[in-house]
C-alpha cells in the first residue's frame, strides 16, 4: 500500500546537519522514515512524512533536531479551545491508537 501522507510543507521539523554526528538515533525512533543516513550524516528524506511526534529531538544527544512536537488530533484541539484540558487528547477520551504496543 502506498505511504499515507498528510498536508505538504507544514512540519516544524528542522535538522542542523552541522551538529549531527551521525549516531543514527533519530533513524531508529522515527516511525515514518523521515531521515536517511548518507556518508555518516543524517539527511531529511521526506519532510512531509513527519508527524511531529518529537521522538527524534528527544533522542538527539547533539541538539541537531528541533521540532514543535504535539499530538495531531482535532478533537484534542477543540477540547482545549472549548476550555477543556489543554490539548491532552489521550488523557480525556480520545481513542488514540489503543492497539499500539
Amino acid at each position: 500500500m502506498k505511504e499515507l501522507l498528510y498536508l505538504k510543507d507544514v512540519t516544524t521539523l528542522k535538522l542542523d546537519e552541522g551538529r549531527c554526528n551521525g549516531c543514527g538515533a533519530c533513524l531508529e525512533v522515527c516511525p515514518h522514515e523521515v531521515f536517511v543516513m548518507n556518508s555518516n550524516r543524517v539527511h531529511i528524506r521526506n519532510r512531509d512524512a513527519c508527524m511531529e511526534c518529537g521522538a527524534c529531538r528527544q533522542n538527539c544527544a547533539f541538539g541537531a533536531i528541533s521540532v514543535q512536537s504535539g499530538v495531531g488530533c482535532a478533537a484534542g484541539i477543540i477540547n482545549s479551545l472549548t476550555g477543556g484540558n489543554s490539548g491532552t487528547c489521550c488523557m480525556s477520551d480520545c481513542s488514540c491508537a489503543p492497539e499500539s504496543n
Binding site: 505538504k8 516511525p31 528527544q58 489521550c90
Partner: protein, 376 residues
Amino acid sequence: MENKHKPDSMFKMIDARSVPPAPAKPPRMDQDFVRGSVETPAGDVPRIDSILYFRDHWGSFKARWDMGRMDYAVDPGLYALGHPDSKSPVLVSANYKMSFDALRSSLSGRDAWILVLDTEGINVWCAAGEGTFGTDEVVLRIEAAGLKNIVDHREIIVPQLGGPGVSGYQVKLRSGFRVRFGPIKAEDIPAYLDAGFKATAAMRRKSFDLGERIALIPVELVHTFKPSLFIIPVLFLLGGLGGPGRFWDNASNFGVFAVLAYLSAVIGGVALTPVLLPYLPGRAFTTKGIVVGAAIAAGVLFLRGNSLYVLPGLIEAFSWLMIITALSAYLAMNFTGCSTYTSLSGVKKEMRWALPLQIAMVTCGLAGWITSRFIS
C-alpha cells in the same frame, strides 16, 4: 495547635513535587494474570505467562468499545515472564492492560523481565506523547525495582513508539542503563531479539492498515452516542413543525428522515472514511469526509425521492446535502487523532479552513431545512 501544623504540611506538599517520590510499591501478587512469584536479590517479583485467557480478550474487546477503557490498567513495576535470570532481557511497557497483554503474549516460550511504567493506564504511544511514558518514569522504575541487583547487563528494551517520551541518552546518563529501541509492534519482538536487537525497516515504520483502522471504529462510534442522544430527539421533533399534516404525522415523515440522514452521516464520518482512507482523494481528512458525505447524501436523497421541482422538496434535499456532508467531514477531521501520521501543525492548518466551513454548512443546512418545513 492544629493550625500550627497547617503551614508545615503545605510545605511538605510543595516539597513533594520537587523531590523524587518515595520508592514505588511493587506490583500486587493478586492480579488475576499473576502466576506465583520469583525470588530475586531485590525481593519477590510476580511471575506472569504468555497465555491470554477469555477474560483478557473480553477485556480488550470491552476497551475497544470504550467500556472501562480509562481504567484498564495493571500495577506498574517489574514482572518475571517465564523463568528469567540475570542474563534475560528487560522489556519496558505501559500499564495499559492491552499494551501489557500484547507484549507478554508475543513472548511465548521466552524468559524475560517486563518493566511496566505507570502511564495511568494509557498505551505506550499516547503516553509517550503526554510524557508519562518518559525518561523520568523509566529511571524511577529501574531504581524502584532494584534492576541493577536483578540483571548483570545494563540494557533495557523500550518500544520504539516510546521515543517521543523517552530520551535514550538521558536514561543512560541517569540510570546507567542503555536504551535499545525495540520494534513498533510487540509481535515483531521475537524476530528482533533473535536478530541480535536488529529491527528491519518495516518493523520501524508505523503502518495504518485496514485492520488497524477498523479496530478504531468502535470507540469513535461510542463517542458519538452521547451527542446523538440529544440530536436525534431534536431532529425528530423539528420534523414535526409546520408542514402539511399534523405534528406527529410530520415528525414520523420529515423527522424520521432527518434522524436517518443524521445516522448516515455518522456512519460516513466514523466508519466509511477510516475504512476507505487511503483511497479517498485529498490529504486533509475534511476533504476525504466531504467526498464520503456527499456520496452518502446523494444516495440517501435518491432513496428519499424528493421532487426537486417543488420548492420544499428541493430545499429539503439541498439542506440535507449540506448537513450530511458537513457532519461527515467533521467526524472525519476528528479521526486525525486516531490516525498514525497527522502532525499537530497540519491539523491546525486544516482546522483553520475546515471548521468554519463545517459550521457554515451545518448552519445553512439547518436553517434551510427548518425553512422548508414552513413553505408549502
